[in-house]
Structure formats: C-alpha cells, structure tokens
Symmetry: C2
Subunit: 209 residues, 2 copies
DNA sequence: GTCTATACTGAGATAGAC
DNA sequence: GTCTATCTCAGTATAGAC
C-alpha cells in the first residue's frame, strides 16, 4: 500500500470524523495530508469512493469481532439455541466499543446510515455477519415468522444506529452521558423485550389494563 | 407570504423529495419554479435555511395530529393511564401517514434526524408533543425509572426514524414493501415489548464500575 | 506505476442596479 | 422585491513529469 494512499485515508478519517462528510473538501484533506489534490482521484477515483474505503477499513474489525463472538457462543451452546440476550450482545457490543474508542467516527457512521451512501457498505460488510446472525436468530426464536423477524432486526438496527449517532443528550427527557456498558445493557433489555413481544394481531378495540 | 417564496417552497419540496437534498441545486429549483436564482437567498438566506423552513412546514401538521390524538385518548381514558399501544400509535401513526403520502420526503426527514439540522427542528417542533407524550408515558409505565424511560424513548425514535428513512427493502433478510398500517402494527408490537421489558439486572460479566 | 500542475464545469453566495 | 452579473470554491478530469 502506497504511503500517500495511507496518509489520505488517515487524514480523511480524522477530518470527516471531526466535521462530517460534506463540509470537508478534497483540498482540505490533501493539504492536511501533504499530498497533491489529484492523488485522491488517482488512488480512490472520487470523494465517495474514498469514504467507502475508509468506512470499510474501520468496519472490518467490528464485524470480525461479531463473528468471533458468535462462533464462541455457538460452540459453547452445543446443539441448543443461543440465549437472545447473548445474541444481541454479540451484535451490539463490538459496535459500541468502537463507538467508545472513536465517538466522532461513530457519529459519522450513524449519519451516513441515513444517507444513501451507507447502503452499499452495510450490505457488503455487515451482510455476512448479518446472515450468520439471522440464522442464529431463527433458531433462538423459532416461532417468529420470517418476515416479522426481518422487520424486528430492522427496528433493532434503527435503535442501534440512532443511539450510536446521536449524542446521548437526546431530545426527549434527560438521559445524560453514560458508560457504554450501561447503555449496552439498556439496549439489550429493550430489544429483548421487542423480539419476544407477541406478534400484533391488534384490531382497533378499546382495552384498558 | 410572497408568491415567489411560496413557489420556491413548493418546488423545492417536490425536487428534494424526488432526488434528495444534495443533488438538487438552487439553479434547478429556481428554474423549475420560474423565479430568479437570487430569490432563494433573498427569501431564505441559504439552501440549508430553505430546507429548514420546508421541513418545519411539513412537520407542523404531524405534530398537531399527535397532540390531537393524545388529547382524545386522554379524555376517553378519564383518570386512568393510557394503554401503551395507544400511546405508541398516537406518536407513530401521524408520521407514518405522512410517509405514506410522500415517501421520498419521509426519507429526507429521516435522514435529517441524524444531522445536526434536525436536532433543532425536532426540539422546536416535536418538543411540545414529546413532553406531553413523555408525561403520558410516565403515567402508563409508573414503575419505569425516569432515566430508563428516556433511553427507551430514545430507542423508539431510532427505530422509527430508521424505518421511515431507509427503504423497506432493508439490508437484513427480505422484508419487502408493505402497507404503512401493517408496518405500524409491527413497530407498535415490537416497541410495546421493549417498553414492557424488565430493566436489565443482568450481571453476566460484571467487571467495570 | 505514482505523483504533480493545472484546467473545466457547476455549485452556493453576493453586490448593486432597477 | 427582484434581477443581472460576478465571486469563490467545490469535485472532477487530464497531460505529462518522475
């Protein structure tokens, strides 16, 4: 790997994390990295491709950790399905730890989720882990219909991405900053309840408790 | 309100909804609206301010509907707390209906949630409704600690924003397109389970703190 | 194969005449 | 209030030096 290429990646990661994607120009990046403007085009092709490579580089270890944890859990469980909480933790904790180490980058990732940009990254990178994860989920929650499971995973991703992206000083109530492990426990508890919820057969009827 | 200003707002809303924010230039908007380029800066100051006004305009009725539904529910319930599912529906359905009528705009809104821009919009617009909503939530779930409730509302917003923003042809599994009311039932069921979940007392590996 | 200098097109923003 | 003309800066593309 060329040193120029590496300098661009590192510098861009820093600047994007600090200021977001759009406000950082290629000229800022190349000036800060001490390389020529055209080097970005040569090594990456476009600004978007640079972002893509950058995110992939950071996301890879997250996914590897997910798969490794899943592997360990599977071996420990033998022929039994995994505990729902363990499964959720296996997926959430690596991302939360990354967010802990580089909060600005996590914020960037969360923001990119909302833009079309992350769609491809997510598919390519979280895809493989997601498939393994999905398979274990089916086994842990065998009574959940396939489409319902997909939707619930979708909701899970939303809760997770939002939490990683938005500062914990949310707009509702006063949450205050908290240690990532505590937040993780909260999410896992919430999502467990969601996944275990009975499927809605709700007709609009007045019912009080 | 100037007619020029109105034409800009309408045209921008249409174009942003169709193509997203970044790809639509001010020149596209003014050309399509039949007004002068400089008119945008005269009336709004910048492209971002234009987006802000536009979102505010669209968000207002959503919030009014939320508050109206909440009001109706409160009157019908007398002195009793509201049913959790009703509460969630009161918050979610107005947004989902808006998404139904203009899906591209919903996508745009969902995207903005993750950016600093929406923070202010959310505070200013969803703020009042959120406070009322929060108060009812406390009443419906009196055993939930205040901070836990705040976090769970946070997770709820994430699931919602993500669902509105990302095309339902998600990255996990195959969800396929669905009628908004069906999606709404799925989210409400999932979130109900989440809100009712026991608070995590999970001490699997207690090390830190 | 890498990197540099430089040019091109289109973006948002602005000044000042009317 | 509105328009024309113009400014600065963005991402991108290319020609050619090492």
């Amino acid at each position: 790997m060329s040193e120029t290429r590496l300098k661009i990646l590192d510098t861009a990661e820093r600047l994007f994390s600090e200021q977001g994607y759009a406000p950082v120009s290629l000229r800022h990046i190349t000036a800060a990295a001490g390389v020529n403007l055209a080097a970005i085009h040569y090594h990456f092709g476009s600004k978007e491709e640079l972002l893509y490579e950058l995110v992939m580089r950071k996301a890879a270890p997250v996914n590897e950790e997910r798969l490794a944890t899943l592997q360990r859990l599977r071996e420990a469980a033998g022929a039994n399905p995994l505990a729902l909480e363990d499964l959720l933790e296996a997926f959430l904790l690596p991302a939360i730890h990354t967010a802990e180490n580089s909060p600005a980058f996590a914020k960037l990732m969360g923001r990119l989720y909302g833009e079309g940009l992350m769609q491809e990254v997510a598919r390519k990178h979280f895809g493989p882990a997601a498939e393994r994860f999905l398979a274990e989920m089916r086994r842990t929650l065998p009574d959940l219909a396939e489409d319902e499971l997909s939707w619930r995973l979708h909701f899970m991703l939303g809760a997770m991405a939002y939490t990683l992206a938005i500062s914990p000083l949310g707009l509702l109530g006063r949450t205050g900053p908290e240690s990532p492990s505590r937040v993780a426990r909260r999410i896992v508890a919430f999502l467990s309840g969601g996944f275990r919820a009975p499927v809605a057969a709700r007709e609009k009827v007045e019912v009080s408790e």
